[in-house]
Symmetry: C2
Subunit: 127 residues, 2 copies
């Protein structure tokens, strides 16, 4: 068993092109092939892919993801390095969240400002 590239594209939202690109670039470890050379994704490949998407979506550049994946493929002696990378990434994401929350404040402030302009122009018309 295992899924074809088309099925994976379907249920990750990534395109087939992107999946092949990820593999070519070493962002995704090599995936097994069947007799006719087609990629077959096993459940653990799907897991890895999802985690890679997490790294990507939180803004880790492809080059660094590549580094992380190469640690992955080197086995258990790289676990401490992987922890270090992930903890740094987590801090990173946390400060992104803080930034975004302050931008929400800013957007809100502007909306309120605009609303107050609308209010006062309504009053003017009423006068």
């Amino acid at each position: 068993m295992g899924l074809t590239i088309g099925q994976i594209a379907e249920n990750t939202g990534l395109s087939i092109h992107t999946l092949r690109y990820y593999e070519k670039e070493g962002i995704m470890p090599h995936v097994k092939r069947n007799e006719s050379g087609n990629r077959i994704y096993e459940p653990e490949d799907v897991e890895v892919l999802k985690f890679i998407c997490c790294l990507k979506e939180t803004g880790m550049p492809v080059k660094e993801i590549k580094k992380f994946v190469s640690l992955l493929m080197m086995g258990e002696q790289t676990i401490e390095d992987r922890i270090t990378i992930l903890l740094r990434q987590k801090e990173n994401v946390q400060s992104q969240v803080d930034q975004l929350l302050s931008y929400i404040q800013m957007l809100d402030g502007k909306v309120e400002f605009y609303k107050s302009i609308l209010e006062s122009s309504k009053k003017e018309k009423r006068v």
Copy 2:
């Protein structure tokens, strides 16, 4: 009074090139010039620029920022449209935040998993 492009670059962190590019692309309204043709940024320009940075940092593409800025320049009759855009952007940012928080969970989960591997390999050595 007013600030030069170099001073603005200094205190926004944007490069001089980027500031000119923003103006050329209509992302930033036209800035006044002095007698010798150099840009002079007034406090209100700085305000607008900061807000543009907020839109950009929250993921609004340059094309849409452009649209927003053109509404800005059309005056008060576009305020309702601006509110609509900003509220949509706010929702947008809120769901980014939610996403990021769930990714933090995921990173944490992986770190814990790695730590448990380290723990159990320590025990093995001790045995």
